[in-house]
Symmetry: C2
Subunit: 586 residues, 2 copies
Amino acid sequence: MPQYQAPLADFQFLMKDWLSMDEHYQHLGIGEFDMELASEVLAQGAKFATDVVAPLNREGDEQGCRLENGEVTTPDGFAKAYQEYVENGWNAMLGTAEYEGQDLPYTMAVPVHEMLNSANLSWRLTTMLTESAVLAVTKHATDELKQTYLAKLISGEWTGTMNLTEPHAGTDLSLLNTKAEPQGDGSYKITGNKIFITGGDQDWSSNVIHMVLARLPDAPKGVKGISLFLVPKFLPDANGDAGERNAVSVGSIEHKMGIKASPTCVMNYDGATGYLVGGEHQGLACMFTMMNDARFQVGLQGLGASEASYQGALEYARERLQSRAPQGVQQPDEKADAIVFQPDVARMLLIQKSLTEGCRALSLVYAKYMDIEKLGSDDEKVHADKVLQFLTPVCKAFMTDMALETTSLGIQIYGGHGYIREWGMEQLMRDTRIAQLYEGTNGIQALDLIGRKLTRDGGKMLDATYEAFAALIDTMTDEALTDKARILLDDWHQSSKDCLSMDAADAAAAACDYLAYCAYSLIGVMWYSMADAASRGDNATIASSKMKTCQFYESRVLPRRDAHKAAFQAGCEDVLAIAGSEFDYL
Amino acid sequence: MPQYQAPLADFQFLMKDWLSMDEHYQHLGIGEFDMELASEVLAQGAKFATDVVAPLNREGDEQGCRLENGEVTTPDGFAKAYQEYVENGWNAMLGTAEYEGQDLPYTMAVPVHEMLNSANLSWRLTTMLTESAVLAVTKHATDELKQTYLAKLISGEWTGTMNLTEPHAGTDLSLLNTKAEPQGDGSYKITGNKIFITGGDQDWSSNVIHMVLARLPDAPKGVKGISLFLVPKFLPDANGDAGERNAVSVGSIEHKMGIKASPTCVMNYDGATGYLVGGEHQGLACMFTMMNDARFQVGLQGLGASEASYQGALEYARERLQSRAPQGVQQPDEKADAIVFQPDVARMLLIQKSLTEGCRALSLVYAKYMDIEKLGSDDEKVHADKVLQFLTPVCKAFMTDMALETTSLGIQIYGGHGYIREWGMEQLMRDTRIAQLYEGTNGIQALDLIGRKLTRDGGKMLDATYEAFAALIDTMTDEALTDKARILLDDWHQSSKDCLSMDAADAAAAACDYLAYCAYSLIGVMWYSMADAASRGDNATIASSKMKTCQFYESRVLPRRDAHKAAFQAGCEDVLAIAGSEFDYL
């Protein structure tokens, strides 16, 4: 596979020409941030991703992680790359300035995250989980806990983890068994087993801070009896440094399909000392405040894998000479034409391109609303929160489903070579497959979208999202493109409103198809909008590329929307009719 | 993952109630074969697949194959299972009775092949390649070569391989470089390198017979200058046993995404002794006589993986308790309901089921026409050949594309556990991914369908296929189902005829979507037909299951057909418009 190259030109187009980031920062009162600074941040992020992290990716997959004598070892070079990441301040991008963070706009950090995901997903994961822990502590911990932990988590001196899942409790957290017993001194003893803990331990940092869901004694049953605890691997000493070892250990590491260089740990808590974060029995609510961010970040993982696969496939398609193109000889001096000239290969590349760039556009719209939610006026914050609530499951599920398709196409373009590990294309597919599962399976995302986000407030999140995309259309100038975008958006809005009256079972049966329908529709709107903006920009290549990719998306990808619409409007009877031995005749 | 169970009840339904195999065998004059014998063959095949081969699958993936001192070692137990397979006569199922084969109808062998694929794809591959070598020798070799090699290949004492691909020549065999120099004694010296050779060597058999494409001196350029040679690993001695070592060796074995227990070899021919099979420069034609069979067999691999994944997912969905079903509490005595009651999980299971059983139906229709092509009247043979020519790329590509979707859904139903190797669900997806690539990528299948099969004879293969499926409809009795089937089939027929006038570039751009459109349409016709036949059968469970699955397929899967139709009717402009730096802006 070729060396990953950061898609800086596309970021530049999207941020400057399409979303007018300079105005956006001015409007939010953070004029010290502008496209000049953004370009510099992205260029430096690209350099780190391509020069430091990407070269470790292939070998990391082969080496995997090891657990020996209770200690986790990650692949060669991973710890050193992390030191450089921390030293250069990347870990602190989004941390609050109060605790030595950089308070960077999301619209600048998100492209850096995408690039890290493209370069080396396994490596990126531990830092992503730290960011989630930072959010949890920032939003819900006491000042005392913040003083002890936050600056070190933001800098990356210490890393963080999220501990939710237990063997019998994945989707259904009401079944959690892990216990927390108050010790009378403000601390608790945590006892239980957690599984699937990303970065549960590693050889990168001097301490690991676990955010753990557990039940207090006599807690209410179900999800209303869950509390959140901070449990450090080493208890801080009087100087605030990592001191005495806490009673938490790695029981084993999982053997997985992919992200083999990321240690996925079984964690054993044997009366480990922990501290309450947020109120008693408020654990799930505390977790949910991080959900938008973490789920969006998983969507970005799909985007990163998709971009890397597209780049690999494109380079191979340009170099691999096989047969002649049916539209006529393209390289008469060669024995055959490059396969990029084969219509079917171009078709696959354009599916990759139109979905990848469409999802990148979605990610930046999302990041823009994260900026607004943080810094906008009160009204803007309320509106932005609604948009984010609605788009979060769409981003998480669609961008990861999309990545499975695009990384598989990347393999397909390589032919048999795509199946050979050395080329790296199959690793992208294996690595990205996890993203459809964790942080809530994509089925759970879809239920969240149709069962909560769409319906719970009578469609207000839907309307806010409609307004957000209508605002994109309002800036368009080409009449034909504008009409198409408006018809598509209105049709989506109306079809969505038609779902408001669905009962719970119909909605559950419709969920995944409805989510896909939303994504194809909204990405379609963005393609019209991007083609329009590009035609007014100063880069002729991007202008013609965006217009042609938009046309491809319209003719070849957007029709899938109708298939999903037919499916989600089918009701639940066809899925609930079959039962028992009708499944297998045994 | 649960132990694989052979879907004998479905085979029974399809063969007896749906396709009336007893009549079929009588009609072909092989009344010694009947459903009673078929049931016995399938039951024994099921026993071998489940008891002997399936238990080796998971560990085989972990162990993989090794090359040490030029010798290939396969995982523990693989060689022993092969001995049992050979001893019990399974390898000889399809071989000609003239050389001690069993001349079994394809309709009996194909279900056994499906079961072997479900049980352990890596293990199955070497025997499948031997069957291809048997076909090549049977159809094209001299009597002298047949006397020496055929009985041993049919019994399985020796195994066979197919050697086509070279590093620079995959899809485009015109670029082949391997040379064959005549030695004046009827033999040739073969020199060159071949890659991706399945079962290139192993520790199972006393000899390996390679079928190798190479060029004679002064051969015409391109595919018209390729000849086929038989190159044994050991040259037979005077007694016909494996004697002197030939100058062919394994250069390396590939490290792959899946089918890790199948040795995929780089083969080096260093002046190895070989023998011409078929005429000079007729190598490609000789290969093509095996293509139908080999490509169909790869389709069956997809079917096998899909069935195994469905079974695994179904059992897990019935056991895994998480949350309550939205349509109401299902298991009040448990802490939660099994996820099989979740509409979204049932939806995923039904996609698996409707596609798997639909493809199984297709595989048996295909096998039926293979029987007819072998044993029918002259007119029937001509008709059957047309049907098989048309359906071959559909089976190969759709059944393997389908398998990627279904095995991925199998993972999804397991949630995070699906990503853990121990459970076996992710292995199915990794293993089946190769099937979209080898024996001609699925893109090549689609070009074969639209560029050759559909158009080359002005639509005669299309019409023959239309007649084959119309004959299924003719036996239906339910008026509503019959009408739906006929409308679907006629619409497909007409849309296909509309493609006859496409130029080469439009057809190439349309190919993959046209193939998917064909498959969804024809499987839809079969679903109506199966639901109809089941309603007249004596198994009430199968009757209601087939009807409900038919309804699901109609409402949730068949609408994809329209998306593919829109795409393949879009012409090639949208895929050929973009070029050069418009792909990546770099």
